[in-house]
């Protein structure tokens, strides 16, 4: 037996226990879906590094740790502790999930326009399961890996957002996933479903944080259906503790002339793997994926993106950057597939990595797979150090070498944040970036 899969047993036990608990409560299609997912997990097993998709990321520590499902214990996260995670000057809807469980008393839901639903997923699955049926588990469906299957089989809570045709939610929806020490050595399986019908619009921020240090495993999954001419702006901000494990997925389907902008920012975590999959399933869809990973210590961050251009005239823009220090390792694999029908596709992808330490490593795999001829596709990837000319220029202006380095590193990374439309989110991240990169006192003029 594969050593990685010896640890699978504990997870199978968790699955069985969960199935017993929910058997009588859930609707038929959901039970069937979970059964299928559990079977799929069992069949796939945890990926090993022999699997091309996991070549550089060894999940053995997650498997060995045997993280079992979290006790649904929302205790121990008071308002004061949470306040530092709210964005300054960002009005809007705030939903708090503590240890994977929606906490109504900590959340502030503002007035929503008619036709907009923002609710706990657990609640939605009980109250209006029929509305979710055609989306839930179907968007991520076929491309699922073992962690996706695990999430589908176990997902209990998260957010359900539904926007009826033409509904514009002006204020961003901020989802804060808080983990307290009570969830130590547990697995959390947040699950979100965002359905934006024709011509609707919203911005959703998924924000993962840790209160107090504890090793745990977040296995999150979000499905997004962007209807014709709809626009969804999605943020995934991961600021978890240095010993947290995180596997995240964002799976999106884009309709005709729709737009998805997804930002992924990783500033924490011990072992992080993100999969973003976007299928441009109708003509004229537009997809922008931006990513920033700042990794130090023994951190490992792996970003996989996969964009399917299925129909003509789709546009995709991808821009991922990483700053690696200490013994950090970062992996980027971005695949763009242009299917035979997708003429006039315009796809561009960039991945730049900055290595700041002798023990850091960057692995980059930009990939183009093209089956249509009238297309414009390009990718670029770089790995390197700071620009020597810029460094010398700053030093010749009396700026100390270490400060010049900080400054250039910050400028390198901020390039990604500059693309964030929501100013309060951008500013908070810029400050976090300064804190994590600048060896000297943070300098406000940079902002």
């Amino acid at each position: 037996m594969n050593p990685v899969n010896e640890g699978k047993a504990a997870y199978l036990d968790t699955l069985a226990a969960f199935a017993r608990q929910t058997e009588t409560r859930e609707v038929l299609w959901l039970r069937a879906l979970r059964r299928e997912a559990a079977a799929r997990f069992d069949q796939l097993g945890f990926p090993t590094t022999r699997n091309e998709e996991w070549k550089y990321t060894d999940v053995a520590p997650i498997v060995r740790a045997g993280f079992t499902s979290a006790a649904r214990d929302p205790a121990g996260a008071d308002g004061a502790q949470l306040s530092r995670y709210w964005f300054e000057n960002l009005p809007g809807h705030k939903l708090v999930f503590v240890n994977g469980c929606f906490s109504a008393e900590r959340s502030r839901l503002g007035a929503l326009p008619k036709g907009a639903t923002v609710a706990s997923l657990a609640e939605a699955l009980i109250r209006q399961p029929q509305a979710l049926e055609i989306y839930f588990g179907r968007i991520a469906g076929e491309s699922a890996h073992a962690f996706t299957a695990l999430n589908t089989a176990l997902a209990a809570d998260g957010v359900y957002i539904h926007l009826a045709p033409g509904v514009q939610v002006e204020q961003p929806i901020h989802l804060l996933y808080v983990v307290t020490p009570a969830a130590g050595s547990k697995m959390l399986t947040p699950r979100n479903l965002i359905v934006a019908e024709e011509g609707s619009r919203a911005a959703v921020i998924e924000h993962y944080v840790t209160l107090g240090a504890a090793a745990y495993f977040t296995n999150a999954l979000t499905e997004v259906a962007v209807g014709p001419n709809a626009a969804v702006e999605h943020y995934r901000l991961q600021e978890e503790a240095g010993d947290a494990y995180h596997v995240g997925g964002l799976h999106a389907r884009l309709g005709r002339d729709s737009r998805l902008t997804a930002h992924a920012v990783d500033l924490g975590g011990r072992l992080v793997r993100n999969d973003v999959r976007a299928a441009l399933e109708a003509e004229g869809a537009e997809c922008t994926l931006n990513g920033l990973y700042v990794v130090g210590g023994r951190g490992h961050v792996d970003n996989h993106t996969h964009i399917d251009h299925v129909k003509p005239r789709g546009t995709s823009r991808e821009f991922y950057k990483g700053v690696l220090d200490g013994r950090a390792r970062a992996v980027f694999r971005g695949r763009i597939v242009v299917h035979p029908d997708a003429q006039h596709t315009d796809a561009r992808q960039v991945n730049n990595n900055l290595l700041l330490s002798r023990d850091a490593e960057a692995d980059s795999q930009p990939q183009l797979e093209i089956y249509a001829d009238d297309v414009k596709c390009a990718h670029g990837a770089t790995v390197g150090n700071l620009d020597e000319d810029a460094l010398f220029y700053l030093r010749s202006r009396a700026i100390e070498a270490s400060q010049a380095r900080d400054l250039l590193t910050y400028a390198f990374a901020r390039d990604v944040l500059a693309r964030i439309a929501l100013a309060p989110v951008r500013e908070r991240l810029e400050r976090r970036l300064i804190e994590s990169l600048m060896h000297r006192a943070p300098v406000e003029e940079l902002l």
Binding site: R397, Y410, E445
Partner: protein, 253 residues
């Protein structure tokens, strides 16, 4: 102020400067002229402390100390300023931030207090008039998207702000139209003072119509082959570099 003796320097193992000597006193303006490849820019870069310019022989004494021993930022703090021939673009770092960081570092080295934001802005705005730079340039990334002339004026702004003791202008005039050239010249002339020395590295005599040098030196094959006053520059303009180079070769033979 600056004393260069028998300086030899190479780039990528290739010798460029081959025994250059030069004395510059406070209050003087020196023009160093020469054909392409004579080593003009190498001299400027060696003085500023660029790493891949390796000094193999000779010495450079600046205000009584060995200049070659200090890091680029130490030289800048001691009052050495290089206006770059090709100012580098630094995306993401705002001009104003760099100016403030630079000015405060220099002031600290001079034993002056750091300027607060208000005083700093007031000072920058005053100096910007000299360099004729619109205010919006302050908030853009360093040199990013600047035209050639804008980059050079930005160099002059930095010089005006940092008030160096020794300013070296590396072909600051090349590629400039007449208006931009006059701006650069006005900026430099405004900085002329008895405490300050200026070294103009240039290919063309044109700049010297606006900034009148006290001395003109001709650099050829890594050495100064002829020195004189401003009339030397005019002669070069008429006759080209050929005759000095020949004269130099004859002298060294």
């Amino acid at each position: 102020m600056l004393s260069i003796k028998n300086l030899h320097a190479s780039v990528d193992g290739k010798p460029i400067l081959k025994g250059l000597s030069l004395e510059v006193k406070a209050g003087e303006v020196h023009a160093i002229m020469g054909p392409n490849g004579s080593g003009k820019s190498t001299l400027a870069n060696v003085l500023a402390g660029r790493e891949n310019y390796v000094v193999t022989q000779g010495e450079v004494i600046y205000r009584g100390k060995n200049l070659l021993a200090s890091a680029p930022e130490e030289r800048a703090r001691e009052g050495v300023f290089l206006a770059f021939q090709y100012p580098v673009e630094i995306p993401g770092v705002s001009n104003i931030y760099m100016l403030k960081a630079a000015l405060n570092a220099v002031r600290k080295a001079r034993g002056e207090s750091e300027l607060d934001a208000l005083d700093f802005i007031a000072l920058v705005k005053e100096r910007m008039k000299l360099a004729e730079i619109p205010e919006e340039f302050l908030y853009r990334s360093v040199n990013e998207g600047f035209s050639g002339g804008e980059k050079k004026r930005n160099e002059i702004l930095q010089m005006a702000l940092l008030e160096p003791r020794l300013a070296i202008l590396d072909e600051t005039d090349s590629g400039l139209d007449i208006d931009a050239l006059q701006v650069v010249a006005r900026g430099v002339n405004a900085l002329r003072s008895p405490e300050r020395a200026i070294v103009l590295v240039t290919h063309y005599q044109r700049l010297l119509n606006y900034i009148v040098p006290d001395y003109v030196h001709v650099l050829a094959s890594g050495r100064i082959v002829k020195s004189g006053d401003r009339t030397l520059a005019q002669e070069l303009d008429r006759q080209g570099y050929g005759w000095v180079a020949q004269e130099g070769a004859a002298a060294s033979a």
